[in-house]
Symmetry: C2
Subunit: 356 residues, 2 copies
């Protein structure tokens, strides 16, 4: 902090005047142009420091036709999964020198369309989009003329790059984990009846496959519908199932919020977890490890998803990505905690046991 306080409205002109050089030279110094006489460079840097000069990004963007920003559109930051995802994307982008502009869609159809076609796209060089309301039937709306990477799997064979985890596999592994620990009547919370694409349908498919592999029947009474995957809807679905007197010894929440809601409802009814009912979630948000009891979950490799999506998008922006659209499948891991395996480990740092 040797320089003076930042002053508004300092331009390259001012720096050039102080340093006794032309504006072009200042620009060269700032942009790391190699062929500059050391003395000149020093004078310019001193002037920059002295005036507290900062590049005007609006001007640079106008001139370059780029903005240095990418958009990240998610349903809402209040949902811990998306908050953690946003955190990871911001950090991944920062490593590449790019700024992230977050947009909330609230899972509304109208707002998701606006994300694709609205004014804001002019502010960003590309978009990472996790759609929730739009689906395969809206494929046409996804044909945009700017770089975009989709997260999740509502759109298939779509007209955009795509980063997702193997939902079917991961859900199968989670269900298998419950079966291997002795459960037979496994409820599913978060089902979307009639859906064939999207996380709900894919994860349910994995659940069904695991049941089939183990020779267990698929009981419709064990499918708990929940449109939005919030804690509240998870709790409500669980309540309905308990009210109906459905016999069950395990619950698979299609995401952690649902599972935590289910835990809440089970607790309220005095049902012991995992003694009477085991619970596993999906996403491995930080909450999961600190739930009571700590919630088993499927960790989707959030960091990997974020960095992959950012790098893919930036490659697309730079024009170095392959012509055809890319689909990247990321890794996952089943994390067994007390809600399924009991109090095997007791410590302040929640147990985390890789299973898959």
């Amino acid at each position: 902090m040797t320089g003076k306080r930042r002053q508004a409205g300092v331009t390259m002109q001012d720096v050039a005047a102080i340093a006794g050089v032309s504006i072009k030279t200042v620009s060269n110094v700032i942009n790391g142009y190699p062929y500059i006489r050391p003395g000149t460079k020093e004078r310019v840097e001193a002037a920059i420091e002295q005036l507290g000069y900062r590049v005007n990004l609006s001007a640079r963007n106008l001139r370059q036709g780029r903005t240095g920003m990418i958009g990240l559109a998610v349903p809402e930051l209040s949902l811990p999964y998306f908050a953690e995802l946003a955190d990871s994307v911001i950090q991944a982008a920062e490593r590449r020198g790019v700024i992230v502009l977050i947009e909330q869609t609230n899972a509304s159809r109208e707002r998701e369309l606006e994300v694709l076609h609205g004014q804001r796209r002019h502010l960003t060089d590309g978009l990472i989009f996790s759609p929730l309301a739009l689906g395969t039937e809206d494929r046409a709306s996804f044909a945009v003329d700017f770089p975009m990477v989709l997260l999740g799997e509502r759109i298939f064979g779509g007209p955009a790059d795509h980063v997702t985890m193997s939902n079917v596999e991961a859900a199968r592994a989670a269900t298998r984990h419950l079966i291997e620990t002795g459960r037979r009547r496994i409820a599913l919370i978060g089902s979307h009846a009639g859906e064939t694409v999207g996380s709900a349908a894919l994860r349910q498919r994995g659940y069904e496959q695991a049941l089939a592999e183990a020779g267990l029947p698929l009981d419709p009474a064990l499918l708990g519908e929940a449109g939005l995957w919030h804690r509240s809807t998870g709790a409500e679905a669980m309540e309905r199932m308990l009210d109906a007197g459905t016999d069950l010894d395990a619950v698979f929440g299609l995401n952690d919020a649902l599972a935590i809601g289910a835990l809440h409802a089970l607790h309220a009814r005095g049902v012991a977890v995992p003694e009477e009912v085991a619970v596993i979630g999906f996403d491995d948000i930080e909450d999961a490890a600190y739930a009571s009891p700590p919630l088993s979950s499927v960790a989707p490799g959030r960091e990997q998803i974020a960095q992959t999506a950012v790098d893919l998008l930036l490659a697309r922006v730079a024009g170095t990505a392959p012509a055809e659209h890319v689909e990247v499948i990321t890794d996952f891991e089943v994390v067994a905690r007390e809600s399924t395996v009991g109090a095997a480990v007791r410590s302040a740092a929640p147990a985390r046991t890789g299973v898959a």
Copy 2:
């Protein structure tokens, strides 16, 4: 969706050419200038629609010297309180037609200074800043030449506008709630020894006041140190206290993350909540209502804080705010749930009982 697909690089010139008017007229139409012949306006709008024209915001920003964006700097979005705050700020800003650019400081001193003096400030018209690492000793760094509103209370009599809740009062009310429900040995988790300003010090002061009012002694053994207010540090502080065999019948977590961490540790040790130990947090994040048992907390009026901060900042940007710096104190409410009052209410929608 009657227009053609959006095309990159369409400018006002193109629109003007199609509409048979000058660029100025197009500009007038876009900016809602009233004195335009209806027919002209229609032609321009038709041309805009036809070309899929969008204003180039970089150019507009450069010309106007404003960006239409405000910055929001928070420690990290992974912390639910800040994720929910960001959600509220984004929505509040949207109601005013402003875009929010989120920056994560990770509670690092260096990054917080960068937020105040870095490149990005050129991209925003003002800043809403929730500092964590910088404190009163850094007052000089807060003397910036752009509009800024501070959240929280690390800086007093500071050189900026300020929106905060009444931390002392709120913590006193939370502690009083524990006392009124019969607790006498109340542990505090999240203490910052030696700090005299900042949330930790203020909330602890409220705790001490409530104890004094009730004629209860202040036992240093009941002060659990936790530098960062995460679930993990809350769990660790709780563990240490339990390991030390400290006698206690209640825990006041200085935020919900700490309290949830404490719940986790208590659960791991088989301590019954609230039968043996009552727990209350602070912030009333959504997690609190869905913890097991549901966590009592202090609701800080997040929406109100967000809207107030945004409006104050925009007034400052517009130059309509008072010359001297404003300090706004927002409301709070103690929300009693099962972790302090027991299973009075059993329902999927967690009980929420206003007490203060």
